[in-house]
Symmetry: C2
Subunit: 134 residues, 2 copies
């Protein structure tokens, strides 16, 4: 739990808003709501070990991830997964199919800055996920 | 220096790009460059004690600050200054004249997410700044 306690932007509550598009237990702390004037939403997302998003695409916009604690993965389709740690950042361009989440043994938190709409796709299979971690 | 060492997104280099619009020594670590597809730039800005921006306005856009370490101030014109610490965030709407910076005795770092263009105005006077800290 040390990684959660060190999570400066707060873990918030169980991620019921998007939980159906994730595997495993995640938490979400919404910080800034997207509006007509503030055109990107900002949240802090915390993944318990092995939790991850489904594959998804950002349409008519983009997403930036700023890793605040723990260890995780980011993968774009047809590319190798990248391991992430606190201080790393990722820029996700419009139309790129990808997923992100915790490693098998670590909690993981990132700020997400999201513009546009998210198109949610299939889960990352246990087989594909486990192959990353071994 | 402990606050700088704990600064997870890195202090980067001396803020020569915007130094003329700041009072005191600041550092800037650009993380994401604004472009035609990624419509907000992201940087980590670190202020040495008592360093601060000039008064300024964001036009045709907005700015979000995410405080990552230290203690600082945020003030909008005609309003009292707010004290900031790690984990706090600020949303700055288009057209709002404001400044941000460190307290007198603390280093201060925030992520800035900036869309649109910045209109730089006069420095925060030493008198106004010192009145906040005493």
């Amino acid at each position: 739990m040390a990684q959660v306690e060190n999570n400066i932007f707060g873990i918030g509550e169980k991620n019921t808003a998007f939980g159906q598009y994730f595997t495993g237990l995640t938490y979400r702390h919404p910080l800034v709501k997207k509006s007509t004037t503030i055109k990107a939403g900002v949240s802090n997302i915390t993944f318990t070990p092995a939790a991850r998003t489904n594959w998804h695409i950002h349409n008519n916009g983009y997403q930036i991830l700023l890793v605040t604690s723990g260890n995780g993965w980011y993968q774009e389709t047809e590319k190798p997964a990248q391991k992430l740690q606190a201080g790393d950042h990722i820029v996700i361009h419009e139309g790129v199919k990808h997923w992100h989440g915790a490693t098998e043994n670590s909690w993981f938190s990132h700020i997400s800055i999201t513009s546009g709409t998210s198109e949610w796709l299939e889960p990352v299979s246990d087989e594909d996920y486990e192959n990353l971690n071994h």
